[in-house]
């Protein structure tokens, strides 16, 4: 059984996003780009499923410019067997990415797919569920525990105020929450090994998929900034100010 892992290249989580002065977007020039943290969790889970003998092959898939090959190499260093890049230079919305993932999933005949619950750049949180809809598969979003046994997946997911457990027949799409696992440290030998793993590049334009954006970004701006307030000397002053000045007590 094959598993598809979707990985996205995003502005590194340690880098603060800066809005371009012309309001056209966020400045990514000369910034560190890395794999979306939730996708690292997805990779780790897929590799663990392989190590547990549940799946036989882990295919990492990324959509975007040529630089995403680096992200695919990171996925292969975690343990993915091979990578597929669907190369596109234009802005890709989650719906377009879901359609491209559908293309690969069908071609490869995968029975499981695992996505990060959200990318930390666009914060959209859509692609996994959209993929599930397009494939007509069962979905388990925000997963914190995944068990696959035979043709059945038992998945615990995070909900408001607690957890719920779903039982579903494969094929299944999963999106990862923070708690699912802690991705392994990538070692140098595994980075070297990853360089030799196969990486296929497909051109989005040649797949016949409509990836044109459905939304136009008119403007990107900085959020209103919150001004720093004052330092209070002690708890007595704090209580007094909260009562008399802020009037929240």
């Amino acid at each position: 059984m094959k598993i598809l892992v979707a990985v996205k290249r995003v502005l590194d989580y340690n880098v603060k996003a800066r809005v371009k002065s012309d309001g056209s977007g966020v400045d990514l020039a000369n910034q560190k780009l890395s794999m979306n943290p939730f996708d690292e969790i997805a990779c780790e889970e897929a590799v663990r499923l392989k190590e547990a003998g549940v799946v036989t092959e882990v295919i990492a898939v990324s959509c975007g410019p040529a630089g995403c090959q680096e992200t695919l190499r990171s996925a292969m260093a975690i343990g993915a067997d091979r990578g597929v890049l669907i190369e596109a230079d234009a802005v890709l919305e989650p719906l377009a990415v879901a359609k491209m993932m559908q293309h690969v999933a069908r071609k490869e005949g995968v029975q499981l797919a695992i996505f990060g619950k959200q990318a930390i750049d666009d914060d959209a949180g859509q692609t996994g569920q959209m993929f599930g809809a397009l494939m007509g598969w069962a979905q388990a979003s925000f997963a914190s525990k995944v068990l696959v046994s035979g043709e059945t997946a038992t998945i615990t997911r995070e909900i408001d105020g607690g957890l719920e457990t779903l039982e579903m027949k494969l094929p299944v799409v999963i999106t990862t929450d923070l708690r699912l696992n802690e991705p392994r440290f990538i070692t140098l030998p595994n980075i070297m090994k990853a360089k030799k793993k196969p990486l296929e590049v497909l051109k989005a334009a040649e797949l016949g998929i409509d990836v044109a954006p459905r939304t136009t970004t008119l403007q990107v701006s900085e959020p209103p900034t919150r001004k720093a307030g004052i330092r209070v000397a002690d708890t007595a002053e704090l209580v007094k100010r909260l009562k008399e000045e802020a009037k929240v007590l």
């Binding site: 800066r18 966020v26 719906l95 008119l218 307030g229 209070v232 007590l249």
Partner: protein, 313 residues
């Protein structure tokens, strides 16, 4: 023009997030229809009918909607959209419930979704934050049916008792039978719910251990009638459960008073709480970024200051 809202409810009562979503829908103009899908959920439908501004409630009562699973619910929403040629928008709150279902609806309608809408400028133009709230995009949708998830803290809830909309029973769609709920553990909270609380006491890595997290924060939260929250660092360290997490990838909150204790103020945490009305920070590091957004900062040892503050209230 019809705006279809997917109601979040527990069959008996309507969740507060639905009221904020109705408020966002009213800014679009048009008829607001609220879809209440569940099992034995007539009471929730009545509650939706009583909300100010609602034109009609659609009630889909069937066994396979009781657990609010995404696959069946999304299929139902799509059937309702197709049954109404005037339907122009589908809205749901950007809560774990809405985030689970709505993208599935959007893909089935072949629409792009606009997530976390914080402002409605016209029927097709909206604002949404991205990059953990470090940038705000003004976006225009070209889709025929616009699919929006609503950042609930950005819209004041509508009045829950002044409406009298008709409730119309609608046919259930087929049970896809893809998923079965086998268990649900919801912690019974003795405190207000995090996203609905007017005061939040939130703890970070500075607390140092799970026992201390509770021992130090709970007396203060009790005094304030507050919900308890946590930073991602505290959740990662196991001091607090995952659903306490406030931030970009956790809950987005905007209470009247947010008390950040031992929280340094990472970008991703600020993204979840910087719209709070008043922010208090208590931290031993005078250079912690949290002080840049706090209205009132108190530098010092939280293990001394927090009990002192609780005693002073």
């Amino acid at each position: 023009m019809t705006i279809l809202i997917i109601a979040e409810h527990d069959n008996a009562t309507l969740k507060g997030a639905t009221l904020n979503t109705i408020a966002a829908a009213l800014k679009l103009g048009g008829d607001v229809h609220v879809l209440v899908a569940g099992t034995g959920c007539a009471a929730a439908a009545q509650a939706a009918a009583a909300c100010s501004g609602v034109a009609k409630v659609l009630l889909a009562d069937a066994a396979h909607y009781g657990d609010h699973l995404a696959e069946n619910l999304a299929a139902l929403v799509v059937d309702r959209v197709r049954a109404d040629p005037g339907c122009s928008h589908v809205l749901a709150p950007a809560t774990p419930f809405g985030k689970n279902v709505l993208p599935r609806v959007a893909a089935l309608l072949d629409s792009s979704q606009i997530s976390d809408v914080i402002a409605v400028e016209s029927v097709d133009t909206f604002q949404r934050p991205f990059y953990a709230g470090n940038a705000i995009a003004q976006v225009q949708s070209k889709d025929k049916i616009k699919v929006l998830s609503i950042r609930t803290t950005a819209f004041d809830p509508v009045d829950a008792g002044s409406g009298a909309a008709p409730v119309e029973a609608v046919a259930a769609s087929a049970d896809l039978g893809l998923t079965k709920l086998v268990g649900r553990e919801v912690v019974k909270l003795e405190r207000p719910e995090l996203t609905a609380a007017s005061v939040i006491v939130s703890g970070g890595r500075g607390l140092g251990a799970a026992e201390k997290f509770h021992a130090v924060l709970e007396p203060l939260a009790d005094k304030l009638g507050a919900a308890l929250g946590a930073s991602r660092a505290a959740v990662d360290a196991g001091y607090a459960p995952n659903d306490y997490q406030v931030g970009q990838t956790g809950k987005i909150v905007a209470p009247q008073l947010y008390v950040a204790i031992g929280i340094s103020g990472a970008i991703q945490h600020l993204a979840g709480m910087k719209d709070s009305k008043v922010i208090v920070a208590i931290n031993k590091d005078p250079d912690a970024p949290i002080f840049q957004v706090a209205d009132y900062g108190l530098v010092g040892d939280l293990f001394v200051l927090v009990p002192e503050l609780a005693a002073a209230l």
